[in-house]
Each structure stands twice: as C-alpha cells, then as structure tokens.
C-alpha cells in the first residue's frame, strides 16, 4: 500500500497512548517502558492488539525512549538494537493487519547551540535508532513530541539518511500559546520541515485537543503536506506517584471531526488516550474523507521563530548586509581575533532598523571560516530572532552554519558554474535549506537572455539532484550604474522574465548599484522601487539607509505587498513618535552648565565650564551658585519621584567633570571648602562597590572630603584610615546578609574604644531596622538620600563638638 497516496483518500487512525496502558499492566514508576519490549513482551503485544481491535490502522512501536542517551539512564544502551527490533516484531504480532510505525522520541538532552549535544552527535544518536527500526521493517517512521526545531532537524536528517522510501512523519509539540517550548510557531515548523523533505507533518501532545485544532488549521494553510494529529488527554495529574489524565475520552474523541475538518489526514492519540478513545474517534470519522489540500510549497526562509515567504503578494524581504568584513577593517579585525562583539552589534542594530533577515559573512583571509561561522551564527541567534543568509565561498563554512541554525537558512550562493553546483546542491538538499542562485557563470551575461539561460540550467541541475525549484531565489544581478548605464534595463528585464518563465522569486544585492556616486541613498531607493515594480521579492540592503527603507515601504503598497497600507502607516507612525529635541531657546553659559548637570550631559560640561571661566565667571560661583543648585534641584525632584536614580548618577558624574576643571583654580585661590571628612568603605567579603562609588561621587560634589577605601576592606584598615584622616564619619556599604555583620563589628569597636566617629551604613540588603539594631549613627536608603543623611549626621557631629 502506498500510504502517502492512501491518506489523501481516507483518514487513517493511529493508536493511542502506550504509557497509560503499561502502567495499568504494572509498569513500575521510574522504569523505562522500552525495556518491557524484552522483559514483558506479552504486555506490549497485548497493548498493540487492543489498539488494533479498537480500529487503529497504524500502531506505534514501544520505542519512544529507545535512543542511546535515554536508554543510558537505565544502563540499557548496549541493548538498543535488540530493544528496537523486538518492538517492531511485537507490533507486528499484536497488530498483524495494521501498519507499524517506528516511534522516535526526543534525545533526552539539549542540542547545540542551546545545549551541549552537537548536531552531528544528535544525528548519530537518532540514526542509530532509526536504522534499527528501518532494518526491522517498519512501514513508516514517526518522530514525535519534539520541542526544539534543531532537534527535529537532526532527527529528520538522520531519518533521511537511512529510511529509503519509508515515509516520515515529523511531529512537534505546541503549548497553550500555540508555539513550542522553544518558541517555534506552527507555520515556521511546517515550512522548515517541508524544506527538510518530511512526508507528513505532525502535532502531538500536550495541551489537550482543543487548542490543537487551530494549530492544525495554521499548518494546513501554510503547506500542502498531509497532517497527522495526536492529542493527549489534557495536562496530567500525578496522584500518589501515578500519572493520570482526567479528561474523559469522549471529550478528546469529540475533536476527531474538527481535526479532520481542519485538514488532518491521520488522527491518533498521545499521552493518556486509550483504546476506547480510538474506538470513538474511529466511529465519529466514519465515512469522512480528508480535506483536499493542494497548496504548492513556498520559497521560504525561517529561523527558530520567524518564517518569511518570498513571492508575489508576500511582504518584500529586506536582508541586512552589514555582517560582512568587505571594506570594514575594524570588523575584519574583530573576526580575526575571534571576537563577536561587532557581529552582535550589527545584528542588533540591523534588527532594530527593520532588517527581516541577516546575511552573515565572516570571510576574512587566514581565519577558519567554518569555526567563525559557527561562532557568528550562535551570537546572532542569541540576540535576534531573525532568519539568516549563510554567506561563504567555502562549503565547509556553509555546512558548519547549516548545522548550527535550526531554521531553513538561505545559502548565499550558487551560480551557473558546474563545480559550485556540485558542491553546494547536496547541502541544500541534506539540510533543507533554500538557496540564492546568481545568474552568472564565469562572467555576468550582459543581456537578460544570457542570464535566463543560466537560470534554466541551474533549475534543471537542481531538479535532477532532488532539489525542487521552491528552494531557489534568483539573484538577477544589479550592476554599478556609473560603470554600466544600460545594465539596469537588463536587470529589470531579467527579474520580469525569471518570474514569468520559471515562477521563481527574485532578489538583488542593492547597494552595489550606487557604488562610486554621491548621495547613494537616492540612487538605491530609486532602483529598488523600479526593481520592485518589475516583481522583485527580496534584496540584500543596508538597513540603516532610511531613504531605502521608506522606498521599500512605499513601493510595497504599489506592488500588492502591503494590504491596507498597514505596514507603511505603522512605520510612519513609529517615526513620528521618535523624540524631538526640546526647544529650549537661547541660554547663557551658566544656564547651559546648569542644564548640562540636570541632563547628565557629561560630554559637554568641561567645554561649558571653560567657556564660563573665559567669560569671566568666578570658579567658586560656578560651583556654588550654578552646579550645586542644579544638583540640589534634581535632589528635590528625586524626592518628589519626578526624577530617578539614573538622573542622580548621570548628574553627579557630569558635575564631577565640571568640578575637575574648577578644582585647580579653587585650590589656587584657597577657596576650597570641606564640610567634613568621611572614610567610605565596602566591607570585608563584599567585592562589589559601584553603589558606594556613586555615594562617594555625590558627597564629593557636595564639598565633603571623602576618602574612598574601595571594596573588601578589613576592619583594621578602616580604623587606620579614619585615624589618619581625622574622619568625622565612617560610611560603610554591604551587599550581602553575610557581610552585613561587619558593620556591627565596626559599630561595636567604635563604642568599645570610645572612638570619635559616627558610623553611617547602607547597601542593597541593609535596612533601617538593622541599622538601628546595631546602633549605627545613620542609615542611607539609597544613593538618593545619602547627601541628606550625611548632612544630618555631620550636623550631629558639629553639635556634639560644640
């Protein structure tokens, strides 16, 4: 029987849960069900028999956990082949008239780049099990309960390696939010798996049937592949060590018809479902044919979380060009040193500027490009959700990237050269990638007709090697206009004809057209609009070019790529909402100093203070009558909760820089003031002191002499410094409950030795109650009140010294 043909004609019933029935037959808690293939074959056979009797057309082997890692948890990995083969035999014996599906569950570990299992290791682990199942003669393979797109990709690559013509179902698990636990939505999953060449898409577990109907609908709307759905009986409940499912079987079965209407071709059950459920589902589907779905595959690129489709009526795809060392010395240097900071910065910035995918090219002479590609793609995935274009002339770098990227990546690129086609096509096929095909061979044909010949040749080659045309986007080659003014017409003609003759989407590398000319944004945006008018679907662009961004958005409305002009309107609204500079009118230099302190404008303060001095302002006046009132005012606003700690920090930092200019002059004139001396330390055991440093800065700005002892300061050093400096106050900061106790030791010592210091305490975990308990002189809540608290404590010192 040809299953893939048959499931278009009638709905197949897959069996229900194995686990629930084995528990009922005495499977102990914590025992691997897979081991029962050898230990209790009668029980396994009996479960299959029950499901077959209930009407299952397909039964799943008892091999969900029969991979090396999971069997390893029970020291049974050496019996892997035996366990899988026994499982297939038992399914055949128990359900002789049903199809036997080799069941493959998750690895039991986390795949790179998230976890430690490399792609190759993952593939090897899956291959070992799937090969055993195929050898034992399964009729299909079901890879199921997958959360991680990377892991299912490894499973599918492994299956494709060994399955021959055995059909493959790849099934993922979506949560109540309609995405997998690692953030993949159903459409992205479907497009990625379609690219990998699976035969049937699946959804199984874990929310119960109700939310799964919408997931089936979404998948049905994005691909023509058949769909398999296995709902579980809702979330389980653990009762006395036994996992039970409390959703009634009638309820689960009542969704069989909605699933079929949504587009399911195979319906079974997952955790908690029973033969009764299968019986009911089967009965309710009696006479119902699967929904006819004829959607052609799409030219898509995906990441873990985003899918983009290239084609008419789809949003225009802007691919960011910036992660590329060409003409960028500092970037090239960072790659040479193996640093990813510039890759990350460009990834983020392009994402924030509206890039929809990122071209990643780390081609620097003498670096191991494969290693760098891995690093770069890991870094890019850590900070953006975008699909990527893996761009390298080295096949090793392309492959390294494809192994590290969970989605359907776009390879940049192939062209008409035979050698390149031979090298890259197997990667496109194996890793389910899409590919950019440059319409050039040894050179670029001047005329569109020449480029179209290459297109035809490339498509034929790919088709001959098992890669359908839906995986290809043609780069129609935009040439430098200053060098070849006739070139533009040929590019536009190529775009039109490629789409007309082959129905394949098109793209260009845009920035090239304006090379060597001034105001490149104007040129790029004009040509982009023209090319979009000819049918262009995507371009590699400079996303920082706002002129280009506006042109792409505007042209999208004319090309049927922005229904209701929604995207354009949103984009313009967002631009409107960008902050505008405050119009503050003309100001005197002193007013500008005051404003600089308030705004935390530390890059201009020194210049302003020097200007004020040049204009004849008195240094002490600038300090006392301009900067101090400004920061006091800010302190008041802080107290009113109108300004916040970052304002205080930035203002204090700014003032410090201004004071640094004034300081030599104040000292010269002998007009420095000292409102009191404070020895400030972060206590022993605490190795972090940024809060203390901010306090020191604030107090220094207010005219105190602050001796900063740093962090992790032992008691004896604090007292030695206090004595040497003639301190009035010892100020202590602590961040941990374990180090706070040091504060008490200082207070006790001061009291015991009758020392003349007041002790002030503060820091993350320190409370007023604690300060009172240990008898501290004052408690500073945060950097906002340290100035006032110090002033109050200094007043006490003065009173007592009268």
């Amino acid at each position: 029987m040809n299953l893939l043909e048959e499931i278009k004609k009638r709905i197949f019933i897959l069996d229900g849960s194995m686990g629930a029935l084995l528990q009922g037959r005495g499977l102990p808690h914590g025992h691997a069900p897979d081991l029962w293939n050898l230990e209790r074959p009668d029980a396994i056979r009996d479960v299959h028999r029950q499901y077959a009797e209930a009407g299952a057309d397909i039964v799943l082997t008892n091999t969900f956990g029969a991979t090396r890692l999971r069997l390893g948890d029970y020291s049974a990995h050496d019996r892997l082949v035996q366990i899988n083969q026994a499982a297939v035999a038992l399914a055949r014996e128990g359900a002789p008239n049903a199809l036997v599906a080799g069941d493959v569950g998750p690895l039991g570990g986390i795949m790179a780049p998230t976890g430690e299992i490399t792609f190759d290791e993952g593939v090897e682990i899956f291959r070992e099990q799937i090969a055993a199942l195929v050898q034992a003669g399964v009729d299909l393979i079901v890879v199921e309960t997958m959360f991680d797109l990377m892991e299912i990709k490894a499973a599918v690559v492994a299956a494709n390696d060994v399955r021959g013509n055995t059909p493959l179902v790849a099934s993922m698990t979506f949560n109540v939010d309609g995405v997998t636990d690692t953030g993949t939505d159903p459409v992205t999953a479907a497009l990625t798996l379609e690219g990998l060449g699976v035969d049937i898409l699946g959804i199984n577990c874990s929310t119960g049937p109700e939310p799964m109907v919408a997931v089936v609908e979404r998948i049905a709307a994005s691909t023509g592949l058949p769909i398999c759905v296995q709902p579980n009986a809702g979330l389980p409940v653990n009762r006395g060590g036994v996992t039970v499912f409390e959703t009634p079987m009638e309820k689960v079965a009542s969704f069989a018809v909605p699933f079929a209407k949504a587009g399911a071709n195979i319906i079974g059950g997952c955790c908690g479902t029973t033969p009764d459920y299968i019986r009911m589902a089967r009965a309710s589907l009696q006479g119902m044919a699967p929904k006819s779905r004829t959607m052609a595959p799409s030219m898509a690129i995906t990441s873990r979380m985003i899918s983009l489709v290239a084609g008419d009526g789809q949003p225009f795809i802007k691919i960011g060009e910036k992660i590329n060392p060409t003409g960028r010395k500092a970037f090239a240097q960072s790659i040479k040193e193996g640093r990813m900071d510039m890759v990350i910065a460009d990834a983020r910035k392009q994402f924030e500027h509206g890039a929809m995918a990122l071209d990643v090219n780390v081609g620097v002479p003498l670096v191991d490009e494969a290693v760098m590609m891995e690093k770069a793609l890991t870094a890019v995935q850590n900070v953006t959700p975008l699909p990527v274009v893996i761009d390298s002339s080295y096949v090793s770098a392309l492959e390294a990237g494809l192994k590290l990227f969970p989605g359907r990546a776009l390879i940049n690129s192939i062209n008409g050269e035979q050698e390149r086609l031979e090298e890259v096509t197997p990667l496109v096929k194996k890793y389910g990638a899409s590919v950019i095909a440059l319409l050039a061979g040894d050179d670029i044909p001047e005329l569109a007709s020449g480029r179209l010949k290459i297109a035809e040749r490339i498509l034929r080659y790919l088709e001959d090697h098992g890669v359908p045309k839906e995986r290809v986007i043609f780069d129609c080659l935009a040439l430098v206009v200053s060098a070849m003014q006739d070139g533009a017409a040929q590019t536009l003609e190529t775009i039109r004809e490629v789409k007309r003759q082959f129905g394949v989407p098109t793209m260009i590398g845009l920035s090239n057209v304006s090379f060597g000319l001034p105001r490149r944004g104007a040129i790029n945006s004009s040509f982009l609009a023209m090319a979009m008018g000819a049918g262009l679907d995507a371009a590699i662009v400079n996303p920082y070019d706002e002129e280009m961004n506006r042109a792409a958005a505007a042209a999208s409305m004319f090309c049927g790529r922005d229904p209701q002009c929604r995207v354009y309107i949103d984009m313009m609204e967002e631009a409107e909402n960008k902050p505008k500079e405050k119009d503050t009118g003309p100001k005197t230099t002193l007013e500008m100093i005051s404003a600089a302190v308030l705004d935390g404008d530390k890059s201009h303060i020194e210049e302003l203070v020097n200007k004020a001095l040049a204009e004849g302002s008195d240094p002490m006046g600038i300090f006392l009558d301009t900067m101090t009132p400004a920061i006091r005012h800010l302190g008041d606003l802080f107290a009113q909760r109108k300004k916040f700690i970052p304002h205080l920090v930035a203002a204090a930092d700014t003032m410090k820089r201004g004071v640094a200019v004034l300081d030599p002059l104040l000292k010269q004139s002998g007009s420095t003031q000292n409102k009191g001396t404070i020895v400030f330390a972060t206590v022993k055991g605490d190795i972090h002191d940024i809060g203390k440093n901010i306090c020191v800065l604030m107090l220094s700005n207010f005219g105190y002499k602050v001796v900063d002892l740093g962090k992790n300061v032992p008691l004896e050093d604090i007292f030695a410094a206090a004595e040497k400096e003639g301190a009035h106050i010892i100020a202590l900061s602590a961040l941990m409950t374990t180090t706070m106790i040091q504060m008490k030791l200082v207070v006790d010592e001061v009291r015991a030795r009758n020392l003349p210091y007041k002790v002030m305490v503060g820091g993350a975990v320190v409370t007023k109650t604690f300060a009172d308990e240990i008898g501290a002189g004052a408690y500073g809540k945060d950097v906002g009140d340290v100035v006032d608290v110090t002033a109050g404590l200094m007043e006490t010192v003065r009173e007592e010294n009268k």
Partner: protein, 213 residues
C-alpha cells in the same frame, strides 16, 4: 530521572527597555526615548547596545529526589544532604517528592566591563551597565524557570515558587553546596568564601514539584 544536569550553553535574550527602566526604578515611562534628558537617554541606549555584546546567558539544572520532612524537622534530600535547611524549605518543599535546582549566569563579560568603566571614572556608564546586568541575570533565571515549569507540568505536578539562598531563613551559607549539587561550575560559576557567586551576575535557586490539589 536524569543523573546528569542539563546544561544550556546559549540562552537567547532580548533586553526590554521598560524592564531596564524599572530595574533603575524609573517609573511612568516605558521607553528610553521618553526620557526628557537626551544625554542620559543616549547613555542608556549605549549601555543596552553594549550589554548585548557582553552578555552570554547560560544555565544548568538538575532534578533530585526529596524524602519529605525528616525526624530532625528538615527536608530530606538523599543526594543533597544538608541543602534544604530551615522552616521556609519545610514550607516550600516538605510535601514535594522532588525538586529542581538551577543556576544561571550572564557570564563575566559584563562585570569585567563594569569594573573597567568604574576604574576609569565612567560611573554613569558603569552604573547603567550594572543595572542591565542585574536585570538580565533574573531574565536568564526566568528562561530556565520556564523550561523547568514546563517539564513539571507535563509530569502532572504543580510548581512551587522559585527560591534562592539568602531568601527568608534559607541562608546564603547554602550557596556553595547548592552550586556543587547543580554542578554550577559547568557554566563557569564558582562561589567565594563569603558565599558570593562569581560571575556576580548569576542566580541559583530551587523549584519544588508539588502534588496537585
């Protein structure tokens, strides 16, 4: 049950401006652009952009069996004796058959840069970056927490709240033992003599598996 801890080498992240502002206790506004003070807003944006290049989120977690409250009145954990001490642990884990211990970090890149900025006298930049770091350590803990919660639910249990050493009466002194049990060194975390985790921007905690009511 897995004997090996699960290691997450890369926790993808985004730095949310509203959360950054809240971490700095700036209320009312949602985006940095709403700050009236342009120089401060620019400094915050630079700090966030820089943080992206400096943060590397990692996590590790492991589920261990619990033995209920023992005769000594403490929560028993055969593979982690002496870890879950105190009344709060009895309240949190007393009824749980198992618990997942976890540790996460954003790595040492950010705090090295904070130190450098602080030493160079760039206190605003140091402060802003430090705040982003603190926020993101919690963010990473939330991401690992979600994974753990999902496996707890799929096994038919409810989760307890996430509890860290230093909360309530669970002393910070348990930090070294917790780090050892979860094998925190696998993601580069060590614990100082004063029980501080290095990198500082790390979080360790326990989540109990609670039987459903």
């Amino acid at each position: 049950m897995k004997k090996q801890p699960q290691v997450i080498e890369n926790l993808p992240f985004t730095i949310d401006e509203t959360r950054v502002l809240r971490e700095m206790r700036v209320s009312r506004i949602k985006t940095v652009d709403e700050l009236e003070e342009r120089p401060l807003a620019e400094a915050m944006k630079r700090a966030i952009a820089k943080a992206y290049t400096l943060i590397h989120g990692k996590g590790v977690y492991k589920t261990i069996e619990l033995g209920g409250v023992g005769e000594d009145g403490e929560v028993a954990a055969p593979s982690a004796p002496g870890l879950f001490t105190g009344k709060d642990m009895v309240n949190l884990l007393g009824q749980c058959p198992q618990a997942t211990v976890l540790a996460v970090t954003i790595g040492d890149g950010l705090e090295t840069e904070v130190e450098r900025l602080d030493k160079a006298g760039d206190i605003t930049e140091a402060y802003l970056l430090e705040m982003v770091g603190g926020l993101m350590a919690d963010y990473m803990a939330d991401r690992v927490d979600e994974r753990i919660e999902s496996s707890i639910q799929r096994a038919g249990f409810d989760r307890t709240m996430r509890y860290s050493p230093g909360y309530g009466d669970w002393p910070l002194e348990r930090q070294p033992l917790l780090a050892r049990i979860v094998e925190a060194e696998r993601i580069g975390i060590t614990v100082t003599q004063s029980h501080i985790m290095i990198p500082r921007k790390s979080v360790s905690a326990v989540i109990g598996w609670k039987r459903k009511a």
